[in-house]
């Protein structure tokens, strides 16, 4: 029998987490750019599933709409348009970035493990309030408590859009 702490929800969460981790590994390990991009798509999709299991519905679905549905389609579009072959050209050699990346990765791992060490052995279940991630709650919070930051983000986005149009157009 399963121990009491391991619920079906936790198993689903763990399976999705495993897939997400494997997909993330695939992103950096595949030499083929399209395969990498596909792994990223899978990673984003499973990440949305993780959000669902944690009760953050709106965040999860926004993840799919924005990243999986729009941004990654554009990524694939560009990769296919450029037809990135020649994976050996992508291999960098004698670069300081590699050891630096290893050091930084290890640091990140240490940080995460330090966080995990506190949590391990305790209750695994998600500890959010009821309807924590539902659209109503998120909307109410955004438009009352965080109204000004939201407006600022909106202005930033508009500036970004206008800027990209300016960059893209040769003659205005």
């Amino acid at each position: 029998m399963l121990p009491e702490q391991i619920t079906p929800g936790l198993l689903v969460f763990a399976a999705m987490g495993g897939i997400a981790a494997l997909a993330a590994l695939g992103v950096i390990l595949f030499p083929n750019a399209v395969r990498s991009a596909l792994c990223l798509v899978l990673n984003f999709f499973v990440l949305a599933g993780l959000y669902f299991t944690l009760g953050a519905e709106l965040l999860g679905i926004t993840q799919i709409v924005v990243y999986t549905g729009a941004i990654m389609v554009l990524f694939l579009f560009v990769i296919m348009l450029l037809n990135l072959a020649a994976p050996q050209q992508l291999n960098e050699k004698g670069d300081i970035k590699k050891p630096l990346g290893v050091v930084m990765g290890l640091g990140m791992l240490a940080l995460i493990l330090a966080q995990l060490q506190v949590a391990i052995g305790k209750d695994f279940g998600p500890r959010s309030e009821a309807n924590f991630g539902t659209p109503e709650v998120v909307g109410r919070t955004l438009f009352t408590l965080y109204a000004f930051p939201l407006e600022i983000v909106g202005i930033l986005l508009v500036v970004g859009i206008v800027g990209s149009i300016l960059l893209a157009k040769r003659k205005i």
Binding site: V34, E57, I61, I64, V65, G69, A70, L74, F77, P135
Partner: protein, 429 residues
């Protein structure tokens, strides 16, 4: 009013063990799609030939009804050719991905007022979920285009991705107006709101969104976008056979081609269902509020009760009828309109549909504020006044920019060979 069938089925389903309930709901999702897709293919071929003054398939079975089965057998026994230079994994997984979104969206269609008539789950984020999953449909096409190592296929895949990005936005904005008016993303609460009095004033009729001004505009935009999302004519540029042979499925044969075919038809059915649920009053038979009518005209009370009973107990049938209507519209559009040129497609999406959808969204917000403060009549007046102001402003801005740029319209002339009038076609650069 709860019908006998409703009470019976509710008690019956809740008394079953959990896994049987889950299985029943899963079958409710899969069976209509799998059973109806061959029927759809038959309907399309017959209706199309009828519209084009042909006979169509009429030999296999009565009225040619068994033709899809014959087609299926043929597809199954055809030689399955796999090209040698393909990316095998992507090539084989693409048809499966193309089939996935139709089934995933099908799980949230409300087939009736009972909770278990929504096959998988009546999710809180219904409309967003629909948008998210429908945008995943393009991966099947794009991957098929990439994986089959063929220039035509690749072009088809690229076209599909550009087209999807363009029409996704207009679709989202048109639905956002409806969500704003409903105040909920749930499919069932959108259907429920459509059972309220029309325009908040006419008590006897139901407020189906297609009958409201903003809903009508949203419905037209959504209809155009859903045709574009399912890659159907006149938006079937990813498989334009006069330019790209068969586009993204050029290299697919036998059952793999059939899976693409099935995915397209299942998506047509599911999008028709979404259209019916959001704009056509969902599972209600007629836009009449029977209980109000029976109060107004007591002599019709018996008839009204009967109609309400029908409405509740056969909700799935009315919903199916509306889906069938949507599919007929698809076929009708295909029979009527020629395929768009690629720049026309882009220009329609970005220059017409998106601005209209955004304007509609803002006007709905205005209508909501005014009708809450000053009553429904003033709300509608403000909606129309706002629409006129936007239209005048838009035409002023476009004419001003045209004047500032000078003559941007290139004139192309065609001289008719029989010496007829010289026709000019305006081409926007």
């Amino acid at each position: 009013m709860r019908g006998i069938l409703q009470i019976l089925t509710e008690e019956w389903t809740t008394s079953l063990p959990g896994w049987v309930q889950a299985l029943l709901r899963a079958l409710l999702l899969v069976l209509p799609l799998l059973i109806l897709v061959p029927g759809l293919i038959w309907l399309e071929r017959r209706l199309l030939s009828w519209m084009q003054d042909r006979i169509g398939p009429n030999r296999v079975g009565p009225k040619g009804l068994l033709q899809p089965i014959a087609d299926g057998v043929k597809l199954f026994f055809k030689e399955d050719i796999t090209p040698s230079h393909i990316d095998r994994f992507i090539y084989f997984i693409a048809p499966a991905i193309a089939l996935f979104p139709a089934f995933a969206i099908g799980g949230t269609l409300p087939w009736g007022p009972l909770y278990w008539l929504t096959p998988v789950a009546d999710v809180n984020i219904g409309i967003l979920y629909m948008l998210a999953i429908s945008s995943l449909g393009v991966y099947g096409v794009v991957l098929a285009g990439y994986g089959s190592d063929n220039k035509y296929s690749l072009m088809g895949g690229l076209r599909a991705s550009a087209q999807l990005i363009s029409y996704e936005l207009a679709m989202g904005m048109s639905l956002a107006a409806i969500v704003l008016a409903t105040g909920s993303l749930k499919m069932t609460s959108i259907v429920y709101l459509q059972q309220q009095p029309l325009w908040d004033t006419v008590n006897i009729l139901q407020n189906w969104f297609i009958f409201t001004p903003f809903g009508f505009i949203s419905a037209v935009i959504f209809l155009i976008c859903m045709v574009a999302e399912t890659n159907r004519a006149p938006f079937d540029l990813p498989e334009a056979e006069n330019e790209l042979i068969a586009g993204y499925h050029t290299e697919y044969s036998s059952m793999k081609f059939a899976v693409f075919f099935m995915g397209e038809y299942a998506a047509m059915f599911v999008f028709s269902g979404v259209f019916a649920a959001i704009f056509l009053g969902g599972y209600n038979l007629l836009p009449i509020r029977w209980e109000v009518l029976s109060e107004l005209a007591p002599s019709l009370a018996g008839f009204c009760r009967f109609m309400e009973w029908m409405n509740v107990n056969f909700s799935w049938l009315w919903f199916l009828g509306k889906c069938a209507f949507g599919i007929c519209v698809y076929i009708w559009i295909r029979a009527t309109l020629p395929r768009l040129r690629y720049d026309q497609l882009m220009s329609l999406g970005w220059r017409s549909l998106l601005p209209i959808a955004v304007t509609n969204f803002m006007l709905v917000a205005l209508w909501m504020v005014v009708s809450r403060v000053y009553g429904p009549a003033n709300g509608w007046i403000s909606y129309f006044v706002g629409a006129i102001i936007f239209a005048i402003g838009y035409s002023n801005v476009t004419s001003a920019s045209r004047r500032a740029k000078g003559d941007t319209l290139e004139q192309r002339g065609i001289t008719m060979t029989d010496g007829g009038a010289r026709r000019t076609i305006e081409v926007i650069k």
